[in-house]
């Protein structure tokens, strides 16, 4: 690359770089700085240095610990459900081949629904006395009374209930990506294995699954990150309740900032959250993603 080429490249990259520096990097630096201070929400000028106190508080707080565990559990619930359902439907579509086009179109559309509309809609469906879900369950004879299951009011099941709209919205994404991955597997390869005497199950286990591995890794990676930082879809259903049973980390940080006005403490938790996310994603990235396999013609 010539010198003028290099200068041109830097020129092309400059606008985006400046934007990311001012509106992402600079705020993040401020976040790190504020985590060592006591700062009020409405008086950002008056700050006093408190050293590691915010971090100490965060690491010993049972509410932060609880929120962190719930974030992990929520991510686990969402990933498990979306992957199982999404993969199943992708295999179905794949076996139907071209005939699945209309079905795929239908399957696409929840992806376009705003998460807060989906969250509110499910809250409406799951209300105990006049919600349609409990009403149908009762009509089917599965419930004696419509107040038997308090989907969003029972602390033991609320984390599963709030995951429902998320699963509803984004299983399609998992399906579409896995379906494309399945379609990209060369038919000749499957044919060759079949001629060698492989049964359907062996075909799946030894040809399809290994070839699909990078695509599976990407889907889990993307969805894992999004589930871990979910806020809106849970917020509009429960605001973290009842008694914090559905409060995930993003929400607890938001509360510390807005409701309690404790920006320093909120920043410290956010820094810990951010570092944990980066560490976990990079770990996942290097252990399962295998980027070089992707940069080919996946």
């Amino acid at each position: 690359m010539s010198r003028s080429d290099r200068r041109y490249v830097l020129l092309l990259l400059a606008p985006a770089t400046v934007f990311l520096a001012v509106f992402v990097a600079w705020p993040l630096l401020n976040l790190f700085r504020d985590s060592f201070y006591e700062v009020g929400l409405m008086t950002p000028g008056e700050r006093s240095f408190v050293g590691l106190e915010n971090f100490q508080r965060a690491l010993t707080s049972s509410r932060v610990g609880g929120a962190a565990l719930r974030t992990l559990a929520y991510t686990g619930i969402v990933l498990t459900a979306e992957f199982t359902l999404g993969f199943g439907v992708a295999l179905l579509f794949n076996s139907l081949g071209r005939r699945s086009e209309l079905l795929r179109t239908i399957f696409l559309f929840p992806l376009m629904i705003p998460p807060i509309v989906a969250g509110l809609l499910w809250r409406f469906l799951l209300i105990d006395n006049f919600g349609i879900v409990n009403h149908i369950l009762r009509q089917l004879g599965l419930l004696a009374s419509t107040s038997d299951i308090a989907w969003l009011g029972d602390r033991d099941i609320v984390l599963f209930s709030v995951a429902l709209p998320d699963i509803w919205l984004t299983t399609s994404f998992v399906t579409l990506v896995l379906y494309t991955g399945l379609q990209n597997i060369p038919a000749s390869l499957l044919e060759a294995a079949r001629i060698d005497g492989a049964g359907a199950l062996q075909l799946f286990r030894y040809v399809t699954l290994p070839l699909l591995r990078p695509v599976i890794a990407v889907v889990l990676f993307i969805r894992g990150i999004d589930a871990a930082r979910a806020f809106d879809i849970i917020w509009v259903q429960t605001e973290g309740g009842p008694r914090f049973a559905s409060e995930v980390l993003s929400m607890h940080i938001y509360r510390n900032m807005i409701r309690y006005g404790d920006v320093g403490f909120a920043s410290a938790i956010a820094v810990l959250f951010l570092l944990a996310m980066l560490a976990l994603s990079l770990l996942a990235f290097f252990s399962i993603w295998r980027p070089q396999a992707l940069r080919g013609d996946a």
């Binding site: 690359m1 290099r6 041109y8 490249v9 830097l10 092309l12 990259l13 985006a16 990311l20 509106f23 992402v24 600079w26 705020p27 993040l28 976040l31 504020d34 950002p44 179905l92 076996s95 139907l96 699945s100 239908i106 399957f107 696409l108 559309f109 929840p110 376009m112 629904i113 705003p114 998460p115 509309v117 509110l120 809609l121 809250r123 409406f124 006049f130 509803w168 994404f173 579409l176 990506v177 695509v215 990407v218 889907v219 990150i225 871990a228 806020f231 809106d232 509009v236 980390l249 940080i253 938001y254 900032m257 920006v263 909120a266 920043s267 820094v271 951010l274 996310m277 980066l278 996946a298």
Partner: protein, 272 residues
């Protein structure tokens, strides 16, 4: 088609119907008289057709204004994100080299950051610029989400364009910038449109930043919808009506564009 296949198809069709039924129920409820949304027991079909629930859109000036706010913010952030991402993506896909690869990595790492971690200091930043409760503040916040996405998508689309195209334009006397604007951009128009749709959707649907950065004037529709209250509880009738109004245009539009959208979505993931 043999009967087994037909059975599978019927089964899948049934599951699909069940899958979209929550949305259908929302639309049906929106056409019931407002108090019927709370009827015990609930009934699926409206007993009586009514546009009662939609009246909130007409009566409560905050609702149409929030739709306008959402639209303006989405247009602003989409325009900004695409115009920042296009030159960067072109540099990455046409010239490769380390700055390009480094940039892709930055875009990827940005995607791993929890929104709330940027939102806290972003709020203070906007306060110091005296921008809180303006379209610009929300639009800028939304660009932090859509810019990395746009760079990844566009870099993928532009990679498909042969570099000879730029060379030919330059031989014909175009400057490099003119070659990019007059030759490359028209060729990549399809990819740019898909990228713009994704940026628009990201902004249209966003909630957390809008919640933090707006209070009265610039409230976007998701914020207003989430705050619907009636005398006793949430105003479910209005929620179903306004929720439908807010999501249906986007759904219809994207059904028309579905091939392209699926291509963009799977490219982002399948190609990395």
């Amino acid at each position: 088609m043999n009967p087994g296949r037909l059975l599978v198809l019927a089964l899948v069709a049934f599951v699909m119907l069940l899958y979209i039924s929550p949305y259908g129920y929302m639309m049906l409820t929106s056409f019931k008289p407002a108090e019927d949304a709370l009827a015990i027991p609930p009934h699926i079909l409206p007993r009586q057709f009514s546009l009662d629930s939609y009246s909130r859109f007409a009566k409560d000036a905050e609702v149409p204004r929030s739709f306008l706010n959402s639209f303006i913010v989405a247009m602003m952030s989409t325009t900004l994100a695409v115009s920042l991402a296009l030159p960067a993506a072109w540099a990455i896909s046409r010239y490769g080299s380390w700055p390009g690869r480094f940039f892709l990595l930055v875009a990827l790492v940005t995607r791993m950051i929890p929104y709330i971690a940027i939102a806290i200091p972003f709020f203070a930043l906007m306060r110091s610029f005296r921008l809180t409760d303006t379209w610009l503040a929300v639009a800028l916040a939304h660009v932090t989400i859509s810019l990395p996405l746009a760079i990844w998508l566009l870099a993928g689309f532009l990679e498909a364009i042969p570099s000879e195209l730029e060379d030919a334009a330059r031989v014909d006397g175009c400057s490099r910038a003119a070659a990019l604007l007059r030759v490359i951009v028209p060729v990549a128009a399809g990819g740019i449109v898909v990228t713009a749709i994704f940026c628009f959707l990201a902004s249209w649907n966003e909630f957390l930043y809008a919640l933090l950065l707006t209070s009265v004037e610039a409230k976007t529709a998701p914020i207003v919808i989430a705050q619907f209250k009636s005398q006793y509880s949430l105003d479910w009738g209005s929620m179903t009506a306004v929720g439908t109004l807010y999501s249906l245009p986007v759904i219809i539009f994207s059904l028309f564009m579905q091939r392209r959208i699926v291509a963009g979505m799977t490219m982002g993931a399948v190609k990395g």
